[in-house]
Symmetry: C2
Subunit: 339 residues, 2 copies
Amino acid sequence: MSIRDVANHAGVSVGTVSNVLNRPDIVAPTTRSRVLAAISELGFVPNDAARQLRRGRGRTLGLVVLDVSNPFFTDVAKGVEDTTGAAGMAVIFCNSDGDPNKESAYLDLLEEQRVQGVLITPIDDANTRLVRLRDRGVLVVLLDRRSPRPDLCSVSVDDRLGGELAMRHLIENGHRRIAFVGGPHRLEQVRDRHDGAMRAIAAADLAPEVLRRFDTPGTTVAAGRDAAARILGMPRSTRATAVFCANDLLALGVLQGLTRQRVRVPDDIALVGYDDIDFAAAAAVPLSSVRQPRQRLGQTAATLLLEEANSPDIHRHQQVIFEPELVVRESSQFVRSGG
Amino acid sequence: MSIRDVANHAGVSVGTVSNVLNRPDIVAPTTRSRVLAAISELGFVPNDAARQLRRGRGRTLGLVVLDVSNPFFTDVAKGVEDTTGAAGMAVIFCNSDGDPNKESAYLDLLEEQRVQGVLITPIDDANTRLVRLRDRGVLVVLLDRRSPRPDLCSVSVDDRLGGELAMRHLIENGHRRIAFVGGPHRLEQVRDRHDGAMRAIAAADLAPEVLRRFDTPGTTVAAGRDAAARILGMPRSTRATAVFCANDLLALGVLQGLTRQRVRVPDDIALVGYDDIDFAAAAAVPLSSVRQPRQRLGQTAATLLLEEANSPDIHRHQQVIFEPELVVRESSQFVRSGG
DNA sequence: GAGCGGTTGTGAACCGTTTCAACGGTTATA
DNA sequence: TATAACCGTTGAAACGGTTCACAACCGCTC
């Protein structure tokens, strides 16, 4: 069932059928409707592989994220999907799961697919691979990560500022022994949020020791629970009175870990997360968190990519940076008097 | 940069290069290594569109879900991805968002892509469309939905049983005025869970009026909050003492709605959700819920599809049905004495 | 009725792979 | 020595679209 069958059935040439499909305006109305009738009678569905083969690039694009089960990324994905769906594009969804091998395998696959472009939250700053991709004609937009190079588009949120906001809030509430839970430190998001926190400490003229790092192997609820246990393992007198987590999944895990040991939040330990996923507000103790414009992140990245795809000459690479916003809820409301 | 360039560079014919790529065993070791060297020197990446065009079908498959932002579906997706990733397949991820038009548009797109198969949670029992797809050679596996036809594979969980388990639990705890929150009723999951609940009522020799339906326009947190308001709008004397929600997102919404109006859960109103997403345990009041094997659902569906793709002759269509399990947590622990 | 511009439609080349009949060369068999 | 069997390789024909130079036809005008 090909364009050729349609042509026969309608009594026109293949070129005309192709024109009806792609530039319907240039074909005479009567011919056009005859062809359309043939198409629906035969139930013809164009083969995108053939189109792609001829045109050079296809109608799909790749989205590579760090963790599908993190609602932050699904919200981003939804934003991407909104935009691409409207443009009739398909998204190949890839979950690197923080594993460089999986990431690399997926990039290979996307390259074989000759996708128009790739939206990616890279695991580390392996720009070499991404730049190589770009040089081969695959558009690349960094997602939730600032591009260190001016020749790649990127859409991100100012994670340092986010970290600073969270930490300033805790400092203002009187906390002087604070735990930072996050990791692996290889992730730029984790590093930046930590750096921002340190900046707030410096701004408040406090000693760097005020913030103590608890590294985690991943950014999951389970990792958060483990971190809580480690925090509670410290002697009460030097134990942190507040915890700032690199994301909400960790924070929910910490919350669970603390609650199980009958440690009250925020009375005994205050807690701030990051991302403000929908579930943060519905948590056992509603979670203070740093909100990011998740869907807009995805929409913007996809728009940038489509722009570049459609008019590469006009397109200027840009680094879009959104501002995060602190949302204070119950988990950090308790004000500490004294040290 | 094509197979032809590689052939020239290695001094062999295109056929040989193709053989190195697809049946390396039939080509002589020395030739093979010469070709492989040429491939890596030139940085050649095969064009999957061309392969697909020639072979007839590609290396991708489609996954169509009802709601990306529901962690239930992302967990299912993860299961799918695990399995397909291991087989070197790509997943085109589609979110129908409960909109039949979006679903239909995505099916068109997948058909144009000539995907190997489609894993789908259909919105309604629009099997006509799916059967047509199947007849055109696209493998179809129903996901989280039992196939009414024996000629389609399906992987599902016994939703009636799940509804029955939840309701029996509430009845045993003494509840005699219970609200069912869910919708739209067009969704089979919602209907089945409701039917199961009715079955439990019949089994306990209670009047059908014990269960009162509160329909929602969708299965989201926001819809749950609205439903809570409607429940609280009833006079205290006839108001439900327990709520069973068609999924956990609704339950979290109901929980928020109740809590805002200072109604205590479970003391004033008990609550049971469905799916047992990770966030259920981390909710303000840990949520009782009906657990489904989410990842296994995805893995099994993908496995079934791959099996059929690889050996269509051996393959027998099957309806896999998992059993759900009630997980009781705090939100339904309060035992009601009297009516 | 030749010449002209404009509109429609044609048909073949091409995209990059797979596949398969055919081929030359070597070795085993009669 | 002739023949068969086998092995590794070749080259061309698909696959199903898009694109473009060109042809056919139309109504006009001179």
